[in-house]
Structures are given as structure tokens and as C-alpha cells.
Symmetry: C2
Subunit: 346 residues, 2 copies
């Protein structure tokens, strides 16, 4: 697997100089100033070019734990929401249309075969499918090692397709009832934390279900044991086909030097795992939206990332990342289009 | 002066029902859900129509206090920045271009005559000019009562021009070296607070200048005395031509039922003053960006508003409002375009 290079230090230096030379008071652009410099460093050019081509891939999959009461919703919702994405009628579609973001949905491990879809749609949706559902992580491995590696490779292939299609910024989205349980487990394992510190309410479980969810995660962490020291083994033991593919997708973006705007817990759990596999990958990631799930904030802090937005959204699907795309565009526009003080002749 | 009606309770009720009926988990849209309901209530229709036509007016003016050491920049910058807006090269132009927002700049009280500009540009820029600069508020009134009323009327006329031009959402921006001093004074006077609780560093003054700025505000508050109980008298005593015009602009938007996305300290000081003149005006306002100036947060809290963004910007010009426009569009798109659960047949 290729190593991850850092974003361009030379471009970062030139961008910081340009930022300081803009006809604005020092520091007045706040985080938009820093974000513009990051975009320039990722692009390797100053000023950065506008970030027009933004592409989101939603990795869908089911999770064995969802059969065990960790979610407020039944597993059949996963497939129903995949159909809603395909129909362009989900929350992420509405936001993506509003902000000019391309959306692609892929079934990595949904627990159905989508036989009702037309052949072309079904073929595109399931082109990278690894398996139906993933193992219930408190009882068994989510994936075999071979499946985890296949899912990582699938995600990487998808990223490269999106980059070839012209993506200047990649986003990941998720769909899978129960997926906050494996995502929190990936972060707990990587940070060496107990479930009680990472677990959250997902789409809205009650106190009893929250306690049960924590037990599931703790049982899974005990079951994984020392395998949690290896991030790919962690994906096999505690992840899922969709989360492993998302990890491969984010890692390939970093390897290929394309910046990523992260979404909520699932996206961040996979980014965190990608950065475990290839330390330094996180330099290519920015955080879009603060999740209400504690694990997301813990993993972001470990990667040194601070979300751009905190609007209380907990919809998943990639919506937090799409909502933050205009912030990246604002930052890029400021560093690119504001006059230099030297040009004003004042 | 016409009274302010509230946004439609009927539309708000229908919008809240639609929000609850969307194919998303309850509450999953967070603040975007509430914001979409507010847009629908302001528009009086469900679903709300897309907020495409967004118009920003920058009210420029100088301030007598700027001659007395309250700013990190010399007053001549005000006119230079007005020229930068006209050239389309300021921060707010870059953001407005990125997000499809129309920008208009008006000289209400800049301390120069812009004789170098071509006649048409100068005529449009100065069509509503009240005076050159405004009084140094710790020593004298900013405006006569007649000037304050003329500026309020000018701002209202401008708002109505923008509404006739099709604005679905209005923003206000500011330019004027020294303007955080009168803006903080307006808020201190309205809330009955001493300068020490409202004063901030503006574009970047040091500790000594900050102490001096607080003295200026306290002297101004003492000088205004009981006149601060009347918001229009407060504008005359402690405001400026540009701030009074901005107040009239925001008040007219509320009176005409057009929603407003507020910017930083100046915009919020004027919104706060508009709500003092016509209690209930604030129901038409949403807050775009958290300012680092304490007075802004105090006035927003009084109006029950919470900013959508907190990106550490302190550029003024309306940039905080423009940066938040995509958040309003996100909220509107979600309430408008996401499928209802009943449509999915799951």
C-alpha cells in the first residue's frame, strides 16, 4: 500500500503569506483563514482553485448488532433508505442538490439483494458488495480478515473512480441501522477507552438501550482483545463491510492527495482508522460537523481536528459534511479573491 | 410608523408538522429543522420556497470617536474600503460571489466626498448620505434628532428598494473605522450595562486602547443619561448615521415581513435597537455568526437568538451573514425536498 505524503509545506507557506497580505485585519478571517491555507496546501497551489467538484459516496451496510436492540429503528430501514437515496429524496440529497454535490450510494453489506431494482441500478449499487450484513460484534467477528481487506480495497477503488471523475473534495456518508455501535467500538479500541466513554444515543435510543449498547461494545472490546492493536484486525473484529470500505476510501483520498471533508461518527471512526493504518492520513481531513456522539469528538481530538459546524444534526448519510461544503468554498474564495493590501494603494 | 406583525403562526404550525413527518428520525435535523420552520413562518408558506434572492446592503460611515484612539486603524480606511467594495475585491465580495448574494454599498456618513468616483457611481453611493462622519459620542451627540430620523427613514427606503427588487432574505453589512464603539454603546445603553461588560477589541486594539475605549463608552453613557430609555434618542446620542440607517433597514424588513440574517456586532446592535423601537421585530431576525465582541452575544441573548456559525471571523462588512446564507438554504432545502415518511411506503 502506498504511503501517505503530507499536503505541500511549500504551498502552505505561500498561502499563509498570501493570507497575511490580504486587505483584511490580521486574523480577521478566523478559521476561514486557516481552512483556506489547508485547501491550498492540499491542492499544492496558491491561490487555491475554487472547490467546485465535490463528490459524496454513501457506503451502506447492515450490522449484526442491530438484531440485538442497539438501535431505535429496525434493520429493514437500511434498504429502504438506500432506495430513498436512489430516488433522490433523502436529507443528504436535498442538501447535495442545494450545494452542488454529487451523490453516489453503494451497497457494501446491506442485508438484502435489491432484486426489485432495475438491473443497471442494482449492478451499480452492488458492484462492490462484500457480503450481506456483518457479524454481531459482541458475539463474533464482523468480517473475516479477507473480507476486511477486500472492503478496504473496494473503498480505495471507489475513491480513485471519484478522483478520476474530477473530485476536488471527497465526502463520505453512511447508512446502516445499528452502525453507531461498531463505529464507537472502532474508536474505543483505537483509543483504549471503555464503552461508557464513547457510547451515544444514535438516532434516539432510551436509557435502557443505551446501557445495553455499552455492554455490547464492552463485550466486543473484550472479544477483540489484543487484535485491537492492529487497525485492520480491528476492522475485521469490530467494524463492518461498509465501515472498512469507508476506511479504504478515506485512506486512498489521502494517498492520492485529495482533501476530505468528514461527516459524523461513522465517517470520523473510519478516518481515525485510516490514520491508524497510515499515520499522517488525517492531514488530508477536515471535520464538517460536530456529532452528538461522544466518540466522534474523542476521535477528532486525537486527530487534531475541530468541526466547522455544530448545528445539532444527527441524521448521518453524510449530511454534516455536505452542510459544511459551503464553508470550505467560503474559505477558498477569501484566500483567492480578496485584494492584497499592496494592490489597494492605500 | 407601521407596526411589526409576527411571522405566520399558521405556517409555523404546518411547517412543524411537515418537519415531524419527514423521513428522518425525530429531531435529527437539529437547528436546521428549526431554521427551516422559521423560514416557512416568515414566508407564510409550507414548504418554503428556496431562498435564492439574497441581498446585502453595506452601510458605511465614519465615527468621531475614531479620531480619539479607539481603533487599530486610521479613519481614512473607511473610504478606501468603500472603494474596495465597489471594485468587488473585499472579503464580503468574495463570499457574496461564492454564494450568489447581491451586494450594495451606501455611504451614509463617510468623512469624504468621493469626488474621484464617476458621477453615476458617486450618485448611487451617496444617494442617502446624511452627513460627513458622526459626532464623537463621549463628547457630543452622534446625530441631531432630525438626522437620526432621516437616517432611519433612509434605511427603511433602502430595505423597500431591495424588497421590490425581489429580496427573499436581507443582510446588513457595515464599514466604518471605530464603529464597534458606538455599536457597543447602543447595546450597553439598551441593556443598562457598563462599558466593561460590553467592550471588545474590534479589529485588534491592545489592552491600553481597550481600557480607553471602555472609558469613551462610559463617558458616552453618562452623557446620554435618561435619553437612553428612548431608542431613537439613543441612536442620536450614541449611534451614527450608518448605524441609524441600518436600524431603519432592519426594522423595515420586519415591518414588510422579509426575514433577515444578522451579521456581527454592528448588525446586531442595530437589530437590537430596531427591536427596542418596535418590540417583536426580532422575530424576523436570525443570527448568522458569533462575534468575538461581547456586546453582540449579550444583545443576541436578549433577543433570544443563537448564531448559526462560530468561525472566529471578525472582519465585519457583512461577512458573517453571507457565510451563513448556505445554512439557511440547507434548512430550507431539507424542509422542502426530503420525502415524507408516508411517501416511502416502508
Amino acid at each position: 500500500m502506498p504511503y501517505v505524503s503530507a499536503p505541500s509545506d511549500v504551498a502552505r507557506g505561500h498561502a499563509a503569506k498570501r493570507l497575511a497580505a490580504l486587505a483584511t485585519p490580521p486574523g480577521a478571517l478566523g478559521r476561514l483563514g486557516e481552512l483556506g491555507v489547508w485547501v491550498a496546501a492540499c491542492q499544492g497551489q496558491v491561490p487555491p482553485e475554487p472547490v467546485d467538484a465535490v463528490r459524496l459516496v454513501i457506503f451502506a451496510g447492515d450490522h449484526g448488532v442491530a438484531q440485538h436492540g442497539v438501535s431505535a429503528f429496525p434493520p429493514a430501514i437500511t434498504g429502504a433508505m438506500v432506495r430513498t437515496f436512489l430516488a433522490g429524496k433523502a436529507g443528504v440529497n436535498a442538501l447535495a442538490d442545494a450545494h452542488g454535490v454529487a451523490v453516489r450510494v453503494l451497497d457494501l453489506g446491506v442485508d438484502e439483494d435489491f432484486d426489485d431494482l432495475d438491473a443497471d441500478t442494482r449492478a451499480a449499487l452492488t458492484a462492490y458488495k462484500i457480503r450481506r450484513s456483518s457479524g454481531a460484534i459482541h458475539l463474533e467477528d464482523a468480517l473475516t480478515r479477507a473480507q476486511a481487506e477486500a472492503a478496504l480495497a473496494a473503498g480505495a477503488a471507489v475513491a480513485r473512480e471519484e478522483i478520476l471523475a474530477g473530485a476536488q473534495l471527497l465526502l463520505s456518508g453512511d447508512m446502516g441501522i445499528g452502525n453507531t455501535t461498531p463505529a464507537a467500538a472502532l474508536i474505543a479500541a483505537g483509543l483504549g477507552l471503555p464503552a461508557s466513554e464513547v457510547v451515544g444515543r444514535g438516532t434516539g435510543i432510551d436509557d435502557e438501550a443505551l446501557r445495553f449498547k455499552a455492554h455490547v461494545i464492552d463485550d466486543a472490546l473484550v472479544r477483540a482483545g489484543e487484535r485491537a492493536e492492529d487497525p485492520v484486525e480491528t476492522l475485521a473484529a469490530l467494524g463492518s463491510a461498509d465501515l472498512a470500505a469507508t476506511t479504504g476510501y478515506l485512506l486512498a483520498a489521502a494517498q492520492d492527495g485529495v482533501p476530505v471533508l468528514l461527516d459524523g461518527l461513522m465517517s470520523v471512526a473510519c478516518a481515525f482508522t485510516a490514520d491508524r493504518i497510515e499515520p499522517g492520513a488525517a492531514a488530508w481531513f477536515a471535520a464538517g460537523h460536530r456529532s452528538t456522539e461522544p466518540a466522534q469528538s474523542l476521535a477528532l481530538a486525537k486527530m487534531g481536528l475541530e468541526p466547522l459546524l455544530d448545528l445539532g444534526m444527527r441524521l448521518g448519510e453524510g449530511t454534516g459534511a455536505v452542510a459544511a461544503v459551503p464553508v470550505v468554498r467560503s474559505a477558498t474564495a477569501l484566500l483567492r479573491d480578496v485584494a492584497l493590501l499592496s494592490e489597494l494603494g492605500t
